[in-house]
Symmetry: C2
Subunit: 432 residues, 2 copies
């Protein structure tokens, strides 16, 4: 008997029928002899509807009250899931974030979990009940106020519960049946991975893969939680995200030995159309200018990803600095830089939101040379121009024209031998 | 400076516009120099929508989970009201039932308040904030579970808060601008009362007046809380419900001295079309039969109101017993009685759901004779037949044909000199 934590996103509990389907899956897990703890998101578009209401009532929402408002969404879905389980003859008990002992910082809207004291959950489990917990929310001990965890919060709730309860696995359900070697909407011959290492998963998530939230993967890695990403709509075993030294226990799934042991050079190809590029032209080539620029950008709240500085043109004593950042951050960052043009002394700003980022991720890169050569050659053969390059220990990312991204992903996927025999059929979308 | 508790029902917070209107009213009260604590119901039809969802998910709802579900409705409305107040530049803080210290019994769906420990509300008031509390909900100390108070729960929340905080007045807002001498939809010449005694209000509420819930009026009476029933949609001062020894303080309203002091013989005429009549025919006229019948009815959960036993027909040694009860209880009570027909030994059951109940209520009845004579004469003159009669110290009720009820109410209202010069224009409906 194992202790299994499951997380169901908004699309998995979007209506009464979906809730009953989720309840059946939970009950099936219980019937298989396991203890079950479930974290749920708000139903379908509930959160967006509540945000619309808040906006209609007040142009700027008070953060404490916004958290009070949004946290009601998960209370609705968790109570309904518990009711559906009851009507199947099983005992279920729902708990809010504070009842579940999900203690967070006081940062409304983006609180971080600082402790989990699941006393009531343990009691309920000991009494044989299935436990349902509101995802996305917690409370702060000092203010005694309700908080929410921000984007991907329900995934983090599930992983934090798994860590605190020392669960055998944390199953994260969505409408996608696992982690793919590439986004199947972009690369039709993408293959589902049986296993992926948590460091690969972190790089994939940070570079455009949308199935798991990076925060939840980080938390899982830090606390030794095994994540299993799988689909609410199929019975497939999905993808296991394994931290250092982890193997999938036979009690949970029959993952082929060789598949769990092999370490392919490249795990996957991530694509991201959500970035924009800003180029600061004619920056005086004197020490401290890059620091000035990125301190202005950081203060604007923008999240800079890649940075490239051109070789200085000796004649002018000036250089260009380019960086990428989320499209949604670009306007603010540009405004902030324009405001400091005189003090920094650059000539002009160029904004380009027609870029695409392609990343090749694989733990095998550490020990295999030639990955970048294969990547550049594949892109060159297909006529795709590379505009920026950045690397980490297990990743190479390139910026290309946005229009070229899909084609680039397909040829690179192929060049690393990742193509499957058949084309994948997958739905789009994720919960919160 | 006074401490004022306000309660806004579902129709008062039905959408963003309504919420902003309520926020403005709250802010106006604060601007007038008062401390303000507000209890809110769920928005418009939220509760019914949640009940529908629950029904779609599970035919029979688990009571604990149903309370968890329904209590989310008030969290939404209270957070939105607090946000709207913030955007007007005033500090507001919302609190759930448990955060507000609303301690109840563990009876899910119909919990009773056993204690109120408003520590956090006091703190917030001391810091100058307007306090918003979720109506209709509390929590049980032993189970640590969330409970709901059942019908009229938000009114009770408001009154309980007013009692615990020793508020100067508890203003209950709805879409009706006070207590009338009769239902204006039935008696167009009904007058709004400036004041009504709490014992009259109890009789009026128990006999069909729908503006205030009887439970809230009882609680107010027991704890010395002054209720002010008024409209969200007008600036009128509404009706003050005064317990023994209470007078309206000048700081709150300028109620005319004479109107507060006068004690009219009859305060109002209540009408009720929600009752049915059951007649048990041919009951053996031996001791204990009435007890048997009403013990069966009570066990079925029905709430018996009036009881009449005919004089026994000497020839047969049998008698008929009639009683009234809410229409919704009739089927269950009839089934329970039919199941005991042999043991009780009655001949048959007659069910009549075409009745109407008219009640004349007035504290002045204690000291004025002739009230029943005036009532019966008015009904007789207009050709209305009386089927049952029951009386209390300050009330006379009669059962008539349902079709006759409106006409009966108008002539009785007129006969007691209650008619106003002009016809009232009032909306229908109440919140929870």
């Amino acid at each position: 008997m194992a202790l299994i934590v499951q997380k169901y996103g908004g699309s998995s509990v979007a209506d009464a029928e979906s809730i009953k389907r989720v309840a059946k899956r939970i009950v099936d897990t219980r019937r298989a002899g396991h203890d079950v703890v479930v974290a749920v998101s708000a139903m379908g578009d509930t959160t967006d509807e509540l945000l619309d209401l808040a906006h209609d009532v007040a142009p700027i929402s008070n953060p404490r009250e916004l958290d009070m408002l949004l946290s009601s969404g998960e209370r609705i879905s968790m109570a309904l899931v518990a009711m559906a389980i009851h009507s199947m003859g099983f005992e279920a008990r729902s708990f809010t974030g504070s009842q579940a002992g999900m203690i967070t910082t006081a940062d409304h809207g983006s609180a971080r979990i600082v402790d989990v004291t699941p006393v009531r959950l343990r009691e309920a489990l000991d009494e044989g009940a299935i436990v349902i917990v509101a995802g996305f929310q917690g409370f702060n001990r000092d203010t005694r106020d309700i908080t929410t965890l921000g984007r991907g919060g329900s995934d983090t709730t599930a992983v934090a519960l798994a860590a605190a309860l020392q669960a055998d696995v944390c199953e994260i359900y969505s409408d996608v049946d696992g982690i793919y070697t590439a986004d199947p909407r972009v690369v039709p011959r993408a293959r589902r991975l049986d296993v992926v290492t948590s460091e690969e998963m972190l790089e994939l998530a940070a570079n455009g893969a949308k199935v798991l939230y990076i925060r939840a993967v980080e938390y899982a890695r830090r606390h030794g939680v095994m994540i299993n990403a799988r689909s609410t709509f199929s019975s497939g075993q999905g993808t296991f995200v394994l931290g250092p030294g982890m193997t999938v226990p036979a009690a949970i799934a029959a993952v082929a030995e060789e598949s769990a042991m092999e370490e392919p050079i490249v795990a996957g190809v991530a694509t991201d159309l959500g970035q924009a590029k800003v180029t600061v032209i004619g920056v005086p080539d004197v020490p401290g200018k890059a620091a000035e620029i990125f301190s202005v950008v950081a203060k604007s709240g923008a999240n800079v990803d890649m940075i490239v500085q051109n070789v200085s043109a000796a004649a002018t004593g000036r250089t260009d600095i380019s960086f990428t950042l989320p499209k949604s951050d670009a306007a603010t960052a540009l405004r902030a830089l324009a405001g400091e043009q005189a003090s920094i002394g650059f000539e002009s700003l160029v904004h380009d939101d027609q870029i695409g980022k392609l990343s090749v991720v694989g733990a095998g890169m550490r020990t295999h040379s030639g990955v970048s050569a294969t990547l550049f050659e594949a892109l060159s053969t297909s006529g795709v121009n590379i505009e920026m390059i950045s690397t980490s220990e297990i990743r190479i990312s390139v910026v290309v024209r946005g229009d070229d991204l899909a084609e680039a992903a397909r040829v690179v996927h192929s060049a690393f031998g990742l193509d499957s025999e058949i084309e994948a059929i997958v739905h789009a979308g994720t919960g919160r």
